[in-house]
């Protein structure tokens, strides 16, 4: 992100808009909004340097509530809008706010293609495993067999793992965090913003109206430690209240091992590496509750030139080589002829 002014102190209030927040009382979206505003305030970058682009959904109302530039676009297309904005304006720090329906159902394709382009935008995907705004149909992240208005006998398709999809789409930064874990949430958003390239953050978010408690296993402080692994670069994959369980690979699958039992030591555990460990990252993305604990934190953070850098780089390159475009020559084209006055 480029900063045009001297950093000055901003407060959370500087990032709040004058619009009343219209989410249901108790919705997980509130805590994400608050975390984002806090992180922005800490950055010291003025509000006009940010743009928030969203699709449609409860989550996608987000831009109205931050006092930055913003566009509440159409369902599923926020990433495409943000891509155009960022390519046109590499100086504007661009966020995409989206939901599990918005980004993975109707917008799934844009998600993939945005990631593989590696546009320098920060994507926050509010995953509540449900369509909130349309009043509670199952979403692509709802578990198999989910009973909702549209699936009274249970849903029939296998849920999508957003992290797996992101990796398949060559994401350079992927992370997961939780609305009800504010410290982790803020830290993760900060890391995502700092990443140069597309950062893709899945945020577990509770929809207390249509899907209350669906993510309790990860959100509830009482059980969280047993069900999630907080990833740390260079640290072994350990979890459990007493950090005594770890993850090993048996050549085919990841499994849970009790450290100290069956001769398993910490050295046998997989060690988290955010960097160039594609195969390992591929495995991480397949970890799903309840079979395995789910990783939270930064799965992967690698460097690759960003799309807008490359686009602008080609332009600079050609100008360096041939000079700025000459409009006269362009209009003239490659070959011309002259028609003289009659009789001449």
């Amino acid at each position: 992100m480029s900063v045009t002014e001297q950093p000055r102190k901003y407060t959370v209030k500087d990032f709040g808009s004058d619009q009343d927040v219209r989410w249901c009382p108790g919705c997980g979206d509130y805590s994400i909004l608050s975390a984002v505003k806090k992180v922005l305030a800490e950055e010291g970058v003025p509000p006009e340097q940010y743009a928030f682009v969203s699709g449609i959904g409860c989550s996608s109302r987000f831009p109205y509530y931050v006092n930055t530039y913003g566009m509440h676009s159409i369902h599923g297309r926020a990433m495409a809008v943000a891509t155009g904005l960022k390519v046109a304006r590499p100086d504007v720090h661009t966020f995409v706010i989206t939901g599990d329906g918005d980004a993975l159902s109707i917008g799934g394709n844009h998600t993939i293609h945005t990631l593989r382009r590696n546009v320098d935008i920060t994507i926050l995907l509010f995953n509540n495993q449900i369509y909130g705004l349309t009043k509670g149909q199952y979403s692509p992240t709802s578990p198999f067999g989910k009973k909702t208005k549209s699936t009274p006998m249970g849903s029939l398709d296998q849920p999508i793992a957003p992290m797996a999809l992101a990796l398949a789409a060559e994401a350079t930064f992927m992370a997961r965090t939780i609305d009800m874990h504010p410290k982790h949430l803020m830290a993760t958003i900060k890391r995502a913003m700092e990443h140069k390239g597309t950062s893709f953050v899945e945020i577990y978010q509770n929809c207390n109206i249509f899907n209350d408690g669906a993510l309790d296993y990860a959100q509830d402080r009482k059980v969280r430690a047993e069900n999630v692994i907080e990833l740390e670069h260079g640290k072994p994959l350990l979890f459990g209240k007493d950090l005594d369980k770890g993850i090993v690979f048996d050549g085919r699958q990841l499994t849970v091992a009790q450290v100290g039992e069956n001769g398993v030591t910490k050295d046998d555990l997989l060690v988290h590496d955010e960097k160039d460990s594609e195969s390992y990252h591929a495995m991480l993305t397949r970890m799903k509750y309840p079979e395995l604990p789910e990783p939270i934190g930064v799965f992967r953070s690698v460097q690759r030139p960003t799309y807008e850098e490359l686009v602008n780089g080609q332009i600079s390159e050609v100008i360096a080589r041939k000079g700025k475009g000459d409009l006269k020559k362009l209009i003239e084209g490659r070959s011309t002829w002259e028609v003289r006055e009659e009789g001449a």
Binding site: P46, Y64, S73, G84, K86, R89, H113, L327, L330, G333
Partner: protein, 631 residues
């Protein structure tokens, strides 16, 4: 001594006012190149020219089949012309399929030049011909020249060591040589082209040049031709000319508009026939700061363009019918957020995938009213390849002045056709003024993104500007503040305002011109739009020669209609009004509905342009009906 002077001397030379030639062969036979080169040399020679390529939807269907036939028609003339010609004077056919597909357009007594080597038992079968037309006398009413082009070509190539398939592939230049000779065209421009194209391929350069000349000399030497033809230079307005295709002119126009507005063009697009060439052309001009993005689909294409516009660039996207269909939802968003955006539809045959490489004008309704909700936007249609240049500039001028998406309706005919263009001097073009506010506009120091100026246009405040932070989106917004509003009266006001704003564009536009009728006494009025311009113009001229005066209105602005359009209609209300369209009467319906005037549609949906004959017949029929038979 030039080749021309040298070779024509012994033959009888017949002067012709204009000639229409069609080159036809397999997709792989290079007919497009051949036609283009013939056009080029004719233009440089000083004729007016007009072209129409016609290629199959298949890339390179198996050689010899009828659906693999690729054609290129051009008319060149000693006066100004507007169409590639109704009927063909001379048909060059490289194989039986090419002959079969194109024969019906050849005039009685026309010239056929055939590649004898292309007529084998196998190719006859592939073309589904039971008999060999070279032998069964079925071509009796034409002047047929059967020439062993492949053999002659191979022989010419041998001299420079090129053999086999590579050699045979040069045969289009042999055909071109013959035709140049027959119509007294200079070879120099073609040789120059060959020199540039094969700059680094010595052997090919040499081979093609030799083959071209071999064809030319063959014409001269062989006893086949008793006469040659000449079409004198046309009396075109003096100036410097170039040749330009429609898609090319659109691309150049967009870049020019960007320069005039001092803003980068962002072009988001997904390939589709016949619009892809705009992307290809723009991608070649990065030195103008043009940013092109091949998006994952048409929706991403328009959305990225809209995002770029939000950021202050000139967002542009293009497609053809099926892709435009996909853009409609996002176009509604563009109307709602009131940002400049240009959407180009290079119309092709529909519905659905339809006839991807053919021309049609059946997307007019889609452009004007094909969205959900009351969703008005300006629609402009270029009327010729070179007019695409100005159309692109106009589109961006309107889009930025009125903060609105604008739809440009080109078509597959304009896109691929070429014509001489007396291009303007870049310095003479009027700049496009665009302002971005830096200050708040509310009384209390707030920024009101939906406060309007005298054109009902809202401010284009850019991300990065301190103090002007605001949010836009697809929900209905409150007048002035732009906040989300579900208020009934506000909705009505906003729907009305969006409509009024588009209507106001008419105040900004020049009045509509009526061609061919300075004193308003013409017997009939023809109203056209888009690429029918040429055929209608040529028709009115032909009618004039026959003593019938017909007024001609060619609408470039289809929404809103020009301010004086109602008055024009009223003026002609007592005479027949004819609306030729390559659809089933879409513009006619709009005119009838809006002005309650009995405009008569003349429709054609065949994937090819009107001929002047078709329009003329319709005019004469209407006049006859009125008891006033055209003299």
């Amino acid at each position: 001594m030039s080749l021309e002077a040298h070779s024509q001397k012994q033959r009888e030379i017949e002067e012709l006012p204009q000639v229409t030639i069609r080159f036809a062969g397999d997709s792989g036979d290079g007919m497009q190149l051949t036609g283009t080169q013939f056009t080029n040399t004719s233009a440089i020679f000083g004729n007016d020219v007009s072209t129409m390529p016609d290629f199959p939807a298949e890339i390179r269907a198996p050689a010899g089949t009828v659906y693999g036939v690729s054609g290129f028609q051009l008319q060149f003339s000693s006066s100004d012309i507007y169409t590639p010609g109704d009927v063909v004077d001379c048909l060059v056919a490289m194989n039986p399929a090419a002959l079969k597909v194109n024969l019906r357009d050849l005039k009685h007594g026309g010239v056929i030049i055939l590649n004898e080597d292309g007529f084998t038992e196998q190719t006859l079968k592939l073309a589904g011909m039971e008999k060999n037309p070279l032998k069964d006398g079925s071509l009796g009413k034409y002047t047929v020249h059967t020439i062993p082009m492949t053999q002659s070509t191979v022989r010419a190539c041998e001299e420079v060591g090129l053999t086999g398939k590579g050699a045979a592939r040069c045969k289009n230049f042999f055909a071109l040589g013959i035709v140049c000779w027959l119509y007294s065209r200079p070879l120099e421009p073609i040789i120059e082209f060959i020199d540039t194209k094969f700059k680094d391929k010595e052997q090919l350069r040499e081979a093609n040049t030799r083959v071209l000349k071999a064809g030319y000399f063959f014409g001269e030497t062989a006893e086949l031709f008793t006469r040659v033809f000449r079409v004198r230079k046309a009396h075109l307005p003096p100036g410097v000319y170039r040749e330009v295709h429609g898609n090319e002119a659109l691309a150049i126009g967009l870049i020019t508009a960007g320069q005039l507005a001092n803003k980068p063009i962002f072009y988001g697009s997904y390939p589709i026939t016949p619009a892809s060439d705009i992307l290809h052309e723009l991608a070649r001009h990065k030195q103008f700061g043009v940013k092109t993005m091949q998006a994952e689909d048409e929706i991403a294409a328009i959305c990225s363009a809209l995002g770029a516009s939000f950021g202050g660039a000139l967002g542009v996207t293009a497609s053809a019918g099926p892709g435009i269909a996909l853009k409609m939802e996002a176009l509604g968003l563009a109307v709602m957020v009131e940002l400049p955006l240009v959407v180009i539809n290079v119309q092709r045959g529909g519905p659905s995938t339809g006839l991807p490489t053919k021309v049609e004008q059946a997307d007019l309704f889609q452009a004007i009213v094909g969205r959900n909700g009351e969703c008005p936007l300006p629609v402009i249609a270029p009327q010729s390849p070179s007019d695409c240049f100005q159309t692109a500039i106009d589109a961006i001028r309107i889009a930025t002045k009125f903060m609105t998406p604008v739809m440009v309706l080109s078509d597959g005919f304009i896109a691929n056709s070429a014509e001489p263009w007396r291009f303007p001097d870049a310095d003479s073009l009027e700049p496009i003024e665009v302002e971005h506010p830096e200050e708040t506009n509310g009384e209390d120091g707030s920024f009101l993104p939906y406060m309007r100026d005298e054109w009902l246009s809202r401010p284009w405040a850019l991300p990065g500007t301190p103090g002007l932070m605001h949010r836009i989106g697809g929900l209905e917004k409150e007048d002035v503040t732009g906040n989300v509003s579900y208020d009934p009266e506000n909705h009505q006001r906003m729907v009305d305002l969006r409509q009024e704003k588009v209507d106001k564009v008419a105040d900004f536009l020049p009045e509509q011109e009526v061609l061919n009728d300075p004193d308003g006494t013409a017997e009939l009025l023809i109203i056209g739009w888009g690429s029918t311009y040429g055929a209608i113009r040529e028709t009115t001229r032909r009618l004039m020669r026959k003593g019938t005066r017909v007024a001609h209105v060619q609408l470039r602005h289809l929404n809103p209609f020009p301010k004086n359009f109602g008055a024009i209609l009223e003026r002609y209300a007592d005479r027949p009004i004819l609306v030729p369209e390559m659809n089933k009467g879409q513009l006619a319906l709009l005119i009838r509905g809006r002005y309650l005037i009995d405009a008569k549609p003349l429709t054609k949906v065949q994937g090819r342009p009107f001929t002047t004959t078709e329009i003329m017949e319709s005019v004469e029929h209407l006049l006859a009906e009125r008891g006033k038979v055209a003299k």
